[in-house]
C-alpha cells in the first residue's frame, strides 16, 4: 500500500488548498438540499394526526441532534489519531470540530425545548435523553475550556485529545439512553435499512435534511480547518509566499 498520498494530504499547504477547494462543493449543494427539504417538510408533508404542525420542527431537531453526537465522535477520533501518530493536522481537525459540535448541541437542545412545550407541556424535563444531551454540551464546554487554558497550542492539542478520548465512553450512553431507560422522548424511529416507524412521506425530506446538515458541517469543518492552519502555520514559508 502506498501512503505517499496520505502524507501529502496531511501536509498543511496541501490540506489548506484541499479544504479551500472542497468547501464550495459542500456548501452550495447543502444549501440547495436544505431549501428543498424545508419546502417539502413545511408544505408537502401532511400534518401529523396527533401533533398537527408542531412535528415539523423534526427537520431541524433530528439532524442537529444526530450531528451533535457524530461530531463529538469525529473529534475524538481525530484527536486520537493526532495523539498516537503525532499528526498536527488531525489535531487541527479536532479543534475545528468543537465549535460546530457545540452549536449543533445547543440547536438540538433549543429545538427540543421548543418542541417539548406543546408536546409535553414543559420546556424541559429531566428525562435521560434530554439530560444526557445536556451533559454532551458540558463535555463540549469542558473540552473548549481545557483547550483555552493552555498558552501553547501543542500542549493544548494533546491535553484536549486525552480528554476527548476519555469522553468518548459517554457517547453510547447518550445514544442509547432512550433504549436503556423508559423515557418521555421518542425512541429510535428512523432506520436506514429496516422499516422506519414514521410516515414514509416524511422520511425522504428528513434524510435529505440529514445529508444537508452533514455536508453543511463539512463546509464548516473546511472553514475551521483553514482558520486553524492559518493560526498554526503563521510563520511558515509557504503561507508567507501565498500572502505575497
Amino acid at each position: 500500500m502506498n501512503w505517499v498520498w496520505f502524507h501529502k494530504l496531511a501536509s498543511p499547504p496541501t490540506a489548506y488548498a484541499f479544504a479551500r477547494a472542497l468547501r464550495p462543493w459542500l456548501f452550495w449543494p447543502a444549501a440547495l438540499m436544505m431549501i428543498w427539504a424545508s419546502y417539502a417538510g413545511l408544505f408537502v408533508v401532511p400534518p401529523d394526526y396527533q401533533q398537527q404542525d408542531a412535528f415539523r420542527i423534526i427537520f431541524v431537531h433530528v439532524p442537529a441532534a444526530s450531528l451533535s453526537l457524530l461530531v463529538y465522535s469525529m473529534m475524538a477520533i481525530a484527536a486520537g489519531i493526532g495523539l498516537i501518530w503525532r499528526m498536527k493536522l488531525a489535531h487541527a481537525v479536532a479543534a475545528a470540530c468543537v465549535l460546530p459540535g457545540a452549536v449543533f448541541t445547543v440547536l438540538a437542545l433549543a429545538t427540543g425545548a421548543i418542541w417539548g412545550k406543546p408536546m409535553w407541556g414543559a420546556w424541559w424535563a429531566w428525562d435521560p435523553r434530554l439530560t444526557t444531551e445536556l451533559i454532551l454540551l458540558f463535555m463540549y464546554l469542558g473540552y473548549m475550556a481545557l483547550r483555552a487554558s493552555f498558552d501553547d497550542i501543542g500542549r493544548a492539542d494533546r491535553a484536549s485529545a486525552v480528554l476527548a478520548l476519555v469522553g468518548l465512553v459517554n457517547i453510547p450512553i447518550i445514544k442509547y439512553s432512550v433504549v436503556w431507560w423508559n423515557s418521555l422522548h421518542q425512541g429510535q424511529t428512523l432506520s436506514l435499512f429496516g422499516k422506519s416507524a414514521i410516515d414514509p412521506s416524511m422520511v425522504t425530506p428528513l434524510l435529505v435534511m440529514l445529508l444537508a446538515f452533514l455536508m453543511f458541517f463539512g463546509a464548516l469543518l473546511c472553514d475551521g480547518l483553514c482558520a486553524q492552519i492559518l493560526r498554526r502555520e503563521r510563520n511558515a514559508q509557504w503561507l508567507l509566499k501565498q500572502v505575497q
Binding site: W123, W124, A125, W126, T131, M144, A145
Partner: protein
Amino acid sequence: MSVNSQSLSPFSLAALILRRDLHLAARRWDQVLQPLVFFVVVITLFPLAISPELSELRRIAPGILWVAAMLASLLAADALFRPDVEDGVMEQWVLSGQPLAWLLLAKTAGHWLLTGLPLVLVTPLVATGLGVSSEHWLLMFSTLAVGTALLSVLGAIGAALTVGLRRGNMLMALMVLPLEMPVLIFGARAMDMGLHGEAVTGPLSLLAAMLLLSLVLGPFAMAAAIRISIE
C-alpha cells in the same frame, strides 16, 4: 530622596486592585466562568440522582439552589488569596504600607463581582429547570444576591486563614461551612416562604444585617489571618 508622601486615596487603591483582578480574569476568562458552570452542573446532578419529577424538584428547589451556591462560592474562595500568597505578592501587599484590610475588602468585592454575581444572574434559568415559575424571579435574585455576597466575605475569611497551609481547600470547607450554616438556613427559608406566597422581609433583612456586619468586621479578620498565614 524622600518617601513619596502624596498618599493614594482609598478609592484609587481599590480601583487598582479591581483593575488588576479584572486583568487577570480577562487573561483567564475560562476560570471566571467556572464557578458559574459548576453551579449549573451541580444543580443538574440532582434531578439525575434524585428524581426527574418537576413536582418533587420544585419542593426541594430552594435547598438545591442554596447548597449549590454555597459549594460554588466555597470552591471559588480557595483561589481568592492562594495564588497571591504563593507567589509572594501578598507579602508585598502586607509591606505596602497601605491598610491591608481595605485591600483585602476590595479584592473580595472583585471576587464577588466575578464569581457571585454571574451565579445570581443565571438563577432564573436553572430555577425554571427546577420548575419554579417566573413570578418568583425577583425573590430569587434578591435573596441570592445578598446571600452570595455574605458567602463571599465568609469564604474570604476562611481562605485567609487556610492560605498558609498546603491543600487548604478541604480544611477551609470545614471551617467555613459551619459559619455559613445560618446563611443557608435563612436563605433557604426566605426562598421557601416566598415560594409559598408568604412575606420574606423577616429572613431577608436578617441576611442583610448579617452582610453589613460581615462587611465591617470581616476585612479585619481577613487582614489578621493573612498576616499570620504568611509569617
